[in-house]
Assembly symmetry: C2
């Protein structure tokens, strides 16, 4: 007999060789029908894996993240089989689950797949699924494994197997299909009731741009057709709100093949919006005692050797910039902190000067492979709303809390009210990953957890998620479509002060090491604006939106009065446009709607005669005929009610 | 006989072999005594060079730039002789005149020279000068020339001679001293009455950092002792105003050896000052119809191949940034224009959309050798207040005039009222240097000259000073010490629109090429702030200065009232500080003077009792006891009187 501990603490005995599914059935037949995956002693196992020792067991259903992973990974096997049957001779490589669905990377050889082929693939995959074929793991020798894929002439699987140790290699079989696989499957294919192929894209073998480009087939699957329908609706909504689409339509930013992928060019409306966001934060930061600094976008190699970044950013990064002088090399800055440390070192400090809070909208550059790039959310150059606080150990707690206050102010002002915090701490099993003493790490982790508690944040602690130089707190925001985004970070650092030999003179007249906090409430301006576009669907908060008002005269006759209205709005610092093209008001309204302009002012004979304006809100609400002054007050009061002072 | 034409058009006849000095004497003995240099048919000659053909002759005195150049170059021979006599065995290299004085680069071998050696060098040089030794040019064969310097074991002169063609080599003798020299000397050493060695510095042979470092001995000389005294006074004044010294004292900026030479770090007060300057220009630009954009600090190599910059910025520059992907290389941007062209190309334009005026405070990076770097005036990274105007050919004249208006507004607002303009046009003898058609160059040059005339600028036209891609107008400003600075540039460009294939649809429905104007009223923020520091001696215009007011309570007892005063100033947006340290008012005033704070408010018993403040201006003027409100109004009205709206 073996002893199995369940998550609720229950301890049950089973005969040796019982499977997780047996355990599930012992709880209830109904529950067992929903179990699709399991973890034994924190390791993923099949629901049919026989257990021979005591241990803890977790059983997962579709409602668990782990259940979905297993479901989608299993679905990738089904789709792979369908692809092999439809396109004989293609070479399979890898097929993992992802956040939403799964993909399979295949070398299609002479074949190609496009949108029009998706229905046939889905049909074939569903046919296979309906066969209710069980997924069966099978241990093979390295020689057997190599033999299979050499026969198929599949150099990819062969390469994968060659890097595995004999005795650890397993295949997974279902129906007529066999794949090299470490395991983690649902009981049988029949649980998959709905499959959708979403897209195809290029992907380099092993993610290396110098390798062959494969075809990545993205898909998603569900245990009910209804869930697929709902997901596709959400996807359609997300597509309408895609920041790349809206960014182009609203003329906020663009990319140029000549300038380079992942390097956004901010168009006038986007640059102005970004400046308003920056000014909003600058104002709050000024009140919070921050001082702005400006530092260059490059630094000598020596700077990053000192900071430790040079050792961390290696061959996968932008390479050093050589100069005519042999021994002088520079790097594009991947972070602002080394520069701010050197600013701190500008002159000696006393404890009376601390905290020093240096802020900068600092543009940093980090290489990403072209396949990883995505609009403004994954770029090669981005601007952090960065700041570094240098304080005494005694001031750390208070400073951390102040930063949380500032971050909450930012989130609330931008309309994000659904968020959690994640505290990332060390992986205690992997101490070599981290720079700095254990004592300092403990101090820092405690400071963060205490601050999160005191500020009443809804937070989780994630072991092993800390950066190599310190623990941190991240805000995880849920957007209007229910998706989670990591946004804004606060990070304690006991490491850089050592590396840059930062000191201050204490009240004891001795030299001490300051503590450093890195923080960025927006995270990156690029990513934040992308998120805000998708969250609001382009309907930005009134204080932030590019054009607040558009004036639409019904004919040229009223242009003079329209200009008078425009002028009086501008005097009240309302951002207004005049559309005096020779077009119908209907067309002008449609375009203003598409441009997400919050207020439209329609001007005709009656308005001019009565010295009023007719106001229509974005979306159609009619505010009727009002005086210009009344309208200005309305706009100003709406702005003030949304944008409180810090 | 030969016919000599003088600058005023006079034509005189002289016997063959007459010298420029003979010509000078024919004008007047008194004038001849002042003549120290000459140019025959635009080529510099000695005053004693015999002339054998007809030609035009210009005679220079100390009052001419060319006269000073000759005077200072001749002085470098005298100083070189003094150095050889004082430090036998040293190796001479080159000794040109510079803007103020001259230098000689020497390989001192085992010797070294420091400040304390300067008087001995000056004494020896003056002794030589007093000998009234004539400078005599002498043609030598290449073999003779090499023999002399091989005997002296001087590899530098040997290298220079080896690159010269036999038959073109000349020596210059005076007293016991001989130097390889192309000519251009004053009649004799006796004309030099005052010599000052100013400094020594390291300098690489041939300016190449991989070569041996030599010692550069800087000096200056004058025909009268009094002029030297005046010059040294000016130098002392300049030293007090040196922007590197003031920048440090006022905590505006710093440099870090780790970040790298020539890469300024802006400290809080400097960053805030820079932001005020930028906001000042942004406001004016907004009124002038500019739109801000933001572009990255790198671009693909392809971008600069298209723009032509890649061919121009070669091995002397920051080298390309390689990436993990073999065929993908980036460059630090040396200019913003290629990025702005790509922004223009974001969408099709109609003539109705033009002009488009894209502005950016764009930070660019250009490699400079470490020996060339100087504070903020010569750096490796700097921020241009850049903008590019894309307009139709018909709009060019008006746009150019508008830019001149904006530039004049900037200069006047910052207290520069002494300036000239320089229009840089092609070198007609060197057409291959320039990109673009002759027709377009002519159009552009005419537009600039017309605009300069119409705006009543005091301007000169300089042939051959244009950039390779277009003619330009630069503002040359004279600062408070009488020194000239190049500041602000406006440049017409017919070239980049071709290279980037920029087009707009004209009223004829055909595709046309827009014209481009590059402009930067400040030039670079770094250089402008350096100049402003030296021009004002750190006493910035009140609207711009870091701290406008400092409040100095005479004792702790008055701190509460002091804070009330501070608060009411802050409400009126006056930048005020409170110095509540436990120090004497005398010390606080001295420090406030050093920090160049325009107004000091002294607060004691009487002030608190009468609800007033005592105000002392920077420099000592006492404004007596006034009400807080009265003082706020005074500050505000002083700001408004200095800073008009655009």
């Amino acid at each position: 007999m073996i002893k199995i501990t369940l998550p609720d603490g229950t301890l049950k005995e089973f005969s040796k060789g019982s499977t997780p599914m047996d355990v599930a059935k012992s709880i209830s037949e109904g529950f067992a029908r929903n179990v699709i995956s399991a973890a034994f002693n924190d390791t993923k196992v099949e629901t049919v894996t026989p257990l021979y020792e005591d241990g803890s067991l977790i059983l997962f259903t579709w409602n668990d993240v782990e259940g979905k992973q297993t479901f989608w990974h299993s679905s990738s096997h089904i789709v792979a089989q369908a692809l092999e049957e439809l396109y004989p001779g293609i070479k399979l490589t890898i097929g993992p689950s992802i956040e939403n669905g799964f993909y399979y990377d295949v070398d299609l050889g002479e074949n190609s797949i496009s949108d029009k082929d998706f229905p046939a693939i889905e049909k074939k995959a569903l046919e296979i699924a309906r066969g209710k074929h069980p997924f069966k793991m099978r241990a093979v020798t390295k020689a057997e494994a190599l033999a299979l894929y050499k026969e198929q002439d599949n150099e990819y699987k062969t390469e994968l197997i060659e890097n595995l140790e004999d005795g650890t290699i397993t295949f997974c079989d279902h129906d007529t299909f066999t794949d090299l696989c470490r395991g983690g499957h649902i009981p049988n294919t029949g649980i998959v009731k709905a499959i959708k192929i979403l897209s195809v894209a290029g992907a380099y073998w092993r993610g290396n741009e110098n390798n062959k480009q494969l075809t990545r087939v993205y898909g998603i699957s569900f245990p009910k057709q209804k869930e697929l329908t709902e997901y596709l609706e959400l996807l359609e909504q997300a597509k309408q709100r895609d920041h790349r689409k809206l960014g182009k339509e609203l003329e906020l930013f663009t990319f140029s093949a000549k300038v380079g992928q992942g390097l956004p060019l901010w168009l006038p409306k986007g640059a102005a919006l970004r400046e308003r966001l920056e000014n909003f934060l600058k104002k709050a930061q000024k009140k919070a005692g921050y001082e702005m600094v400006i530092t260059p976008h490059i630094g000598q190699k020596e700077l990053y050797v000192t900071s430790g970044h040079y050792a961390k950013y290696g061959e996968d990064s932008f390479q050093p910039i050589k100069t005519p002088k042999m021994d002088e090399e520079f790097l594009l800055k991947p972070m602002n902190c080394p520069h701010h440390c050197e600013i701190f070192n500008f002159k000696p400090h006393s404890y009376k000067d601390l905290p020093k809070r240096f802020a900068e909208f600092g543009t940093v550059y980090r290489y990403e492979q072209s396949g990883e790039l995505h609009g403004l959310t994954r770029v090669r150059g981005f601007t952090q709303d960065d700041a570094h606080i240098f304080c005494t150990p005694d001031q750390l707690d208070q400073e951390f809390k102040n930063v949380i206050d500032l971050s909450l102010y930012v989130l609330n002002s931008l309309g994000f009210d659904n968020f959690k915090a994640q505290v990332s701490v060390r992986d205690l099993n992997n101490p070599d990953k981290y720079i700095g003493s254990v004592e300092n790490w403990e101090k820092a982790e405690n400071a963060i957890i205490n601050a999160a508690k005191e500020k009443g944040l809804d937070f989780v602690i994630e072991s092993g998620e800390a950066a190599f130089y310190g623990p941190k707190l991240d805000f995880m925001v849920k957007d209007a479509l229910g998706r989670n985004w990591q946004l804004g970070t606060i990070q304690v650092d006991y490491n850089l002060p050592e590396r840059f030999d930062l000191t201050y003179k204490g009240s004891d007249n001795e030299s001490h090491r300051p503590v450093m906090i890195h923080r960025a409430p927006f995270g990156s301006m690029e990513r934040f604006i992308a998120l805000l576009l998708e969250h609001t669907g382009g309907n930005f908060p009134l204080w932030l939106t590019p054009d607040q008002v558009i004036i639409l005269p019904v004919s040229e006759k009223y242009e003079k009065y329209a200009k008078k209205v425009l002028n009086s709005l501008e005097i009240n610092e309302i951002r207004a446009l005049l559309d005096n093209r020779n077009e119908t008001v209907g067309k002008k309204i449609r375009e203003a709607e598409m441009n997400k302009i919050p207020f439209m002012i329609i001007i005709g004979e009656n308005e001019e005669a009565t010295n009023t304006i007719s106001v229509r809100k974005h979306g159609g609400e009619d505010l009727g005929s009002i005086a210009i002054k009344e309208f200005s007050d309305l706009v100003t009061s709406e702005i003030n009610s949304n944008l409180k002072s810090f």
